[in-house]
Symmetry: C2
Subunit: 267 residues, 2 copies
């Protein structure tokens, strides 16, 4: 028996989220079907966490147990040939038997992309929220900085959250802009990428943070009010939940050195 | 009666090319239907040229005549709300009545994108040819340079071409690479963007140039053999026709100053 760890990218547009659910058509279902087709084994994979319907991943991590003798370096290509073209496994390695993708995740980073140009970017349209109105990016950055640190994030969690504690730590959060597609002489502001990196995230947490930051960017909320919203510990104090399509699980990092290539864990 | 000129971007993946044809479902059909829905006029648009099925455009140009009194600055948003989300009109302006998008095009630039990483880039997969094998980019650049200048491009044209002359001028052609997505410690070579800018292009010309350059990149053909292929004036002398999905009409430039914003013409 071996414990295999894999890194997977997916375009979540056409799926009902990562985790298996009664409606089917999830990323997990397709991964488990591909493993079954390849190895003949009906496995249950464990991921670093779920992602919502329509949310994407650049570097989701999962692991599973297998008795298959297929060499570890063959798995990526063999699985990809059995997966839809919008799910791609990019790394595979053997890890200690007690390794667990969710419990041992030390840091997760999400990226949320807003297209603040007048027109949608049709080549990136599946991975962006289009917001043609003007946004105050400085104010959004200032608001975002209030979230760094250890806080009770109840105001930024779905009311459906059943977690016993809503205390999480955001290690870092920052905004990067890409103005390469702006048309000269227009109000185009380019792509606004917001990165949020933390110990773990509650249901809808990044999307509610983004919906609130957009309200700040529109000038309807002062950046310092993020503090008040945190302190309210009440979902009603925060802004709307931003659409899932702009969100991408960017990377998951672990703190282990045995039997793993370190480059997997830091990208 | 006014002559309106527009710039349009499209994702050609799901269309039967730009130009109206019996099978329907072309970019031109959707543009003419949107104009009909908006203005009530059944117009015939004239583009800078056609693009094949599956080929994309960042900056295609077309014009048409209208009696509509809708102000020119309203057209983009009004048309986009009547177009599928993979066709976006980004500029509109009035031009002299005798302006013709195809006849007056002075320079067209195409970009062809190869993903030379081991794994497909799922977020850009619709706009790239995936070539996981190693490519000699220096050799491809050297081969490409032989095409700059005025030549008879019969070897690089579809056998179905009915043009009386196959002489065209390539003003410039160059390769840019983007290694931002390469995984460390792998044979990943990143994205290889080939730009070809010329007076005009024959049917399949850029795709046959690319199919031949890939053969050069694979080491199966020496860069200097591009000269011999040009001189052969025979389609059989060149390499295969590369897939349409990697090709994008990047920009079309015109040489007029009356009644047009110059920034349209140089991007």
């Amino acid at each position: 028996m071996r414990n295999l760890l894999m890194k997977v990218s997916y375009d979540g547009t056409d799926y009902n989220g990562f985790q298996t659910q009664p409606g089917g058509h999830t990323i997990q279902d397709y991964l488990e079907e591909a493993i079954l087709a390849l190895s003949g084994e009906q496995v249950k994979i464990t991921a670093s966490g779920r992602t919502d319907a329509g949310v994407h991943a650049r570097g989701q991590i999962f692991n599973f147990y297998t008795s298959s003798q297929i060499p570890v370096e063959r798995w990526c290509v063999a699985l990809n040939s059995r997966l839809p073209e919008d799910i791609v496994v990019t790394e595979a390695m053997e890890v200690p038997l007690d390794f667990h993708s969710r419990r041992e995740a030390k840091r997760k980073t999400y990226r949320y992309t807003i297209n603040a140009n007048q027109f949608p970017d049709l080549f990136g349209r599946r991975y962006q929220l289009h917001h043609p109105g003007s946004l105050d990016i400085e104010a959004m950055s200032a608001g975002l900085r209030h979230l760094i640190g250890t806080h009770d994030f109840t105001s930024f969690a779905s009311r459906k959250s059943t977690k016993p504690s809503h205390v999480r730590t955001i290690y870092d959060a920052w905004i990067e802009t890409d103005t390469s597609m702006c048309r000269p002489g227009t109000r185009d502001q380019g792509l606004i990428h917001t990165y949020v990196s933390g110990s773990g995230f509650l249901q809808h947490m990044v999307r509610i943070i983004m919906g609130t930051l957009i309200t700040v960017g529109e000038g309807k909320l002062k950046p310092d009010e993020m503090k008040r919203i945190l302190e309210a510990r009440n979902r009603a104090a925060a802004g709307p939940t931003a659409m899932g399509k702009g969100l991408m699980l960017w990377s998951v990092e672990y703190d282990i050195t045995d039997g793993v290539k370190p480059d997997l864990w830091n990208t």
